[in-house]
């Protein structure tokens, strides 16, 4: 009971801070840090459903982010469709692509699966990069699309300040975490973690392995795509190397891996710590020694993977429960 109170207390404090943050942070530049924290927390949570819970090392899942960004942007720019509707369409298309790709790639295992997912990402990136028009929409190849300003409004998801964006991504993030929590604690979560450890045994216990992997992949892709739409609206500019780049996929996967794959909190904690670190390093060192920021960032990553390979959150949780156990035994004495 005591533990439960501690946990819910912690959640309440975090929620209050999250909701009131823009009241204290007026500098849009600083607020941007928090926006990208939440965006990456959301993306890492999305990836974690297929990469963590189901244990499928899909390494090119940034492709769904890119599809989401491009679909909603094209519809917004050329068809005047609100990004809120566009992101649902982008999500649906991403989920369909995930379904098709999954049918092919989930037959592969281990490294071959990972390589196939990377190949899919590059294929689609090159397709977008080398075409001026795609499905009748002017996507301008490598140049990318600049979103037209259609006036500040919720329907257009366009704002002059950052505060509105902050609340939108906060809402997405909370919904993403709730979806992830629901999956983890439901039948699907049990089935996914069974698939994660031993597919053959899972199958003999009645788990339809292919179906579960496809389901997880589709949900993950849908969520990623919505993140893509948000990104496009936030920066008003998308191009293939940014929204369909390999870096992004790696970054999202690394957050989940460093934080603890398959845990609910791990990817979020890692994204919250590492995404601002990345931004701050680039902001402070980027102008003096070019590249140094990335070197330091890379070193931090390497050290974390080397010293706590099980992930940050499982490591912390282990420490916490040990400390608790110690306290309990001390109390008994």
């Amino acid at each position: 009971m005591k533990k439960l109170n501690l946990k819910s207390g912690f959640l309440i404090v975090i929620s209050v801070i999250g909701l009131c943050l823009p009241l204290f942070v007026s500098n849009p530049y600083t607020l941007q840090y928090f926006i990208s924290m939440l965006l990456f927390g959301y993306l890492a949570t999305s990836w974690n459903i297929i990469g963590g819970y189901a244990g499928q090392m899909a390494n090119g899942n940034g492709v769904y982010f890119g599809i989401g960004a491009y679909v909603s942007t094209c519809l917004f720019t050329y068809n005047n469709l609100s990004p809120w509707a566009g992101m649902l369409i982008g999500g649906a298309i991403s989920a369909l692509v995930a379904l098709g790709l999954g049918r092919l790639t989930f037959r592969l295992s281990g490294t071959y699966f990972t390589m196939a997912t990377v190949a899919c990402l590059h294929l689609i990136r090159l397709l977008v990069m080398s075409n001026q028009y795609l499905f009748g929409y002017e996507i301008r190849g490598a140049q990318g699309i600049v979103l037209p300003w259609k006036g500040e409004s919720i329907i257009n998801m366009q704002f002059t300040g950052k505060v509105e964006y902050y609340y939108i991504i906060l809402a997405f993030f909370v919904i993403g975490v709730l979806v992830s929590y629901h999956i983890k604690t439901s039948k699907d979560g049990y089935y996914l973690s069974a698939i994660n450890t031993n597919q053959e045994a899972a199958s003999s216990l009645g788990v339809n392995v292919m179906h579960m992997k496809l389901k997880a992949s589709c949900i993950s892709a849908f969520m990623m795509a919505i993140g893509g739409t948000f990104y496009a609206q936030l920066y008003s500019m998308i191009d293939p190397s940014r929204v369909l780049g390999y870096d992004l996929s790696i970054q999202i996967m690394l957050y989940a891996a460093v934080g603890g794959r398959g845990t609910l909190a791990g990817p979020i904690i890692a994204a919250f710590l590492l995404s601002p670190l990345n931004d701050i390093l680039r902001g402070t060192l980027g102008t003096t020694v070019s590249g140094l920021a990335l070197v330091i960032y890379g070193l931090v990553m390497m050290l974390m993977v080397y010293f706590i390979p099980q992930g940050l959150w499982p490591f912390l949780r282990d420490k916490l429960s040990r400390a608790e156990l110690k306290a309990q035994t001390a109390e008994r004495k």
Binding site: S186, K187, S193, N196, T197, S203, S204, G206, V207
Partner: protein, 247 residues
């Protein structure tokens, strides 16, 4: 066991891996409420036969009937849903999950509600005598307990027929005795039919109503434990030509 309906029947099963014939024209059946033993030397094709029955891979030719329905070529999860459970010779626990959660994965097939599945899993765990270990991570169990966990998981799927692949291998005599008693309880109290692969002769002789003997993919003998144990072919395959000639 007055009820003599056939629960599982294999007709002329053949399995070829490339040029190798692992199982050659094997026909067998199991009645409801029966414990059927499957014995044979290493490489006789016992596990291959199990894998075909449980849907891991389809037979090259032949038919398998489960409760009168043809099941060859169906997937493992479909066959499990129909009411067939299995354990593995080499234990395959979900090491990242607790003993209870391992069993819950099995129970979820009959009830999608996690809470109810947990309750059911707990009942199964106390049946196999693992309830006191429910919260332990399955990665921390020893072999005897892992074998019980395999049983618990399979039982949680509510099977009508259970395939046991060497649940006693690697256990000491005391632990084997316990498992024998448990297998008998599974049949007598839960009314589940069983097909059992076992190397421990004493165990298979006590447990089985009927025994099939495989040798290099061929069925060489079948009958009650007494009949099989005096069959010259069986003695030859187990002890070699010389010993057979002497006795």
């Amino acid at each position: 066991m007055s009820d003599k309906t056939v629960i599982l029947e294999c007709k002329d099963i053949v399995k070829k891996f490339g040029g190798l014939t692992a199982v050659n024209d094997v026909s067998m059946y199991a009645n409801k409420g029966e414990i059927v033993g499957l014995i044979g030397a290493n490489g006789a094709g016992k596990t291959t036969l199990f894998n075909m029955i449980a849907g891991v891979f389809p037979p090259t030719s032949g038919q398998i009937f489960f409760e009168g329905q043809e099941i060859q070529g169906k997937k493992s999860h479909e066959i499990c849903r129909m009411g067939m459970g299995r354990t593995y010779q080499i234990v395959k626990p979900f090491r990242n999950l607790s003993v209870l959660d391992n069993t819950v994965v099995g129970a979820l097939i009959r009830d999608s509600d996690v809470k109810k599945a947990k309750k059911k899993a707990m009942e199964v765990l106390s049946f196999v005598g693992l309830d006191h270990r429910a919260e332990v991570s399955s990665g921390n169990l020893g072999l005897p307990e892992l074998k019980r966990l395999e049983l618990a998981r399979a039982l949680a799927t509510d099977p009508k027929l259970l395939l046991l692949d060497e649940v006693m291998a690697g256990l000491n005599p005391t632990d084997s005795e316990k498992v024998i008693a448990l297998v008998e309880r599974i049949r007598n109290e839960l009314g589940i039919s069983l097909i059992v692969i076992e190397h421990v002769m004493k165990a298979i002789m006590t447990l089985s109503d009927r025994i099939y003997v495989l040798n290099q993919g061929n069925l060489i003998a079948t009958g009650t434990p007494q009949e099989v144990s005096v069959n010259p072919e069986v003695i030859k395959s187990y002890f070699g030509e010389k010993r057979y000639a002497k006795n």
